[in-house]
């Protein structure tokens, strides 16, 4: 009896050690990049904390909630952008957004092998709403420039806030998105939809439903993201390494026309469904209700098989 308890608690501890979700942004970086290879840009202390937040009596953070820098992943030189979800919900303010824009523009000059983006954000930081919105637009334009310069943008969504709002849009401008089951990707948060349209439209307390609509498994099965992995640092690292090697498309007319076709097709086929179970069933998945219990590997096998 004691032995199995110890084993359970050791396993739980081991899981937390390997969990991306549980880590701070800095720890995510440290556990993924090659040892000691991370060189932070605009280290804490090099710029003041946000005066915009200070005017609202809110304590700022030295990095304004996003850590940027250069690193190596399995010897490939990459740029890292990692949002700290625990600071203001990872939301984008003036300085936070400018750091991201700066890294993307820098990538155009120095041409790293890839830009690796750990998105963990509710979107625009309301306290700096206008600056946040415009900066997200600047991030969108910069991401497209980086892609058209042939530099992959590999995004990982697996943190506490997921990727919502303007960061949900930016995530979908990446060349390659890796999600864990814990991750969520959407535009409006379920609570917002419930507030505006009522609980019938979206019961935000129904966690299983929230994940069936916005979670990693559904995004993967519906083709909204490329990769689904466990909440495991090693799996995520490997997925990033694999993603970096993939050739990328220029965002030209042919590419966008193809995307347009795909969107139209999915819309024609599935629009109106409010739960992914019906879609999974329609895709020929035999036990759609069991998807939530399956591992990432099993879900991948279903999609590929």
């Amino acid at each position: 009896m004691n032995n199995s308890n110890n084993k359970d608690s050791r396993q739980a501890h081991a899981h937390i050690q390997k969990s991306f979700y549980e880590k701070t942004a800095r720890n995510r970086i440290a556990s993924i990049v090659d040892k000691d290879s991370f060189v932070e840009i605009l280290k804490p202390g090099s710029v003041p904390t946000s005066p915009n937040l200070a005017s609202l009596d809110i304590t700022g953070s030295f990095d304004d909630g996003v850590i940027i820098g250069k690193a190596k992943i399995k010897d490939d030189a990459v740029y890292i952008i990692a949002q700290e979800g625990r600071f203001m919900g990872g939301a984008v303010g003036e300085m936070h957004g400018a750091k991201i824009v700066g890294m993307l523009l820098k990538a155009l000059e120095e041409k790293p092998k890839a830009v690796v983006f750990f998105v963990d954000s509710g979107g625009v930081r309301l306290h700096e709403a206008n600056a946040g919105l415009i900066t997200i637009s600047e991030i969108m334009r910069a991401m497209l420039k980086v892609r058209n310069a042939g530099i992959p943008i590999v995004t990982v969504i697996g943190g506490t806030n997921g990727a919502f709002g303007g960061m949900g849009i930016c995530s979908c401008l990446s060349t390659h998105i890796i999600m864990t089951e814990e991750g969520r990707l959407a535009l409006s948060g379920p609570e917002v939809i419930e507030t505006l349209k009522g609980v019938e439209e979206f019961d935000s307390k129904d966690r299983a439903l929230v994940w069936r609509v916005t979670g990693g498994k559904t995004r993967y099965l519906l083709g909204h993201v490329q990769v689904l992995v466990e909440d495991d640092i090693d799996e995520i690292t490997q997925a990033i390494v694999d993603g970096i090697q993939l050739p990328i498309d220029t965002v030209d007319l042919d590419y966008l026309q193809q995307q347009q076709k795909g969107l139209q097709q999915q819309y024609d086929q599935w629009f109106g469904e409010k739960d992914s179970i019906a879609i999974w069933e329609g895709m020929g998945i035999t036990e759609p209700e069991s998807i939530s219990m399956l591992s990432a590997k099993q879900v991948r096998a279903i999609k590929q098989g």
Partner: protein
């Protein structure tokens, strides 16, 4: 001012358009040649259908290969609040629409957005904010969220938000704030047929310049955003 009236003042020559499901699609003749008109009207709540339709219209114009200028009409209350739209990843459709507008820029189509009514949050992000230039009527309402809702969500007292918004353009609704932030190029007070054609002709004289996003420099000149330029420069020189 009604959409109809506004459009007639901006496009007095051979204006023709259709409005279907909050989407406007049309064209007009100007001194600068034919312009295509694409956009939203009546405070559209942008959903999958609208975003897909707008993107389709943009790609059609590009495919014609004539570098025809596009005028984007913007009147949106933001993204629609709908589980069905979210299930099919509305943010992804928005990203696609934004990429289509961006392709206009790279394909040297002069393009501009005109905010006639509302321009809100995600709806504005999806296409209006991607245009080469953004103009707004003085009466337009540009915002992320109104102060009441902002106060509820942030738990900052409304009176604090109201008083701070008198001296800062950083968060409060208002077309003047977005002008200061560098998002709105000009606020149009009196409408006439020259506004659009002048903008297009001017764009044509230096179309390559629009490949560079200069909004943060404009924001600095207008004292709207004071920090972002230094941050970007510091990152670039690191």
């Amino acid at each position: 001012m009604q959409t109809q009236t506004i459009l007639a003042e901006l496009f007095p020559n051979e204006l023709e358009y259709q409005i279907d499901n909050w989407v406007i699609r049309g064209s007009a003749e100007t001194k600068a040649g034919k312009v295509e008109i694409i956009g939203t009207v009546d405070s559209a709540a942008i959903n999958q259908a609208i975003a897909i339709t707008l993107a389709d219209a943009v790609l059609d114009v590009i495919a014609q290969g004539k570098k025809t200028p596009i005028v984007f009409i913007v009147d949106t209350q933001g993204q629609d609040s709908s589980r069905a739209d979210e299930l099919l990843c509305l943010n992804r459709t928005f990203a696609h629409l934004a990429a289509c507008v961006d392709l206009l820029r790279r394909s040297e189509h002069p393009n501009l957005a005109i905010i006639l009514g509302e321009a809100v949050s995600g709806g504005f992000l999806s296409y209006g904010l991607m245009a080469n230039q953004i103009f707004a009527l003085q009466s337009s309402q540009v915002k992320v969220m109104d102060l009441n809702a902002m106060s509820r969500v942030t738990k900052i007292p409304l009176d604090k938000l109201q008083s701070l918004s008198k001296t800062s353009a950083i968060f409060a609704p208002g077309v003047e704030n977005f002008y200061k932030m560098g998002a709105v190029d000009e606020i149009w007070v009196n409408l006439d047929e020259h506004l659009v054609e002048n903008a297009i002709e001017s764009q044509r004289t230096h179309i390559q310049d629009f490949l560079t996003d200069n909004r943060r420099q404009v924001a600095k000149e207008r004292d709207g955003r004071l920090l972002c330029n230094e941050i970007v420069d510091a990152v670039l020189s690191a």
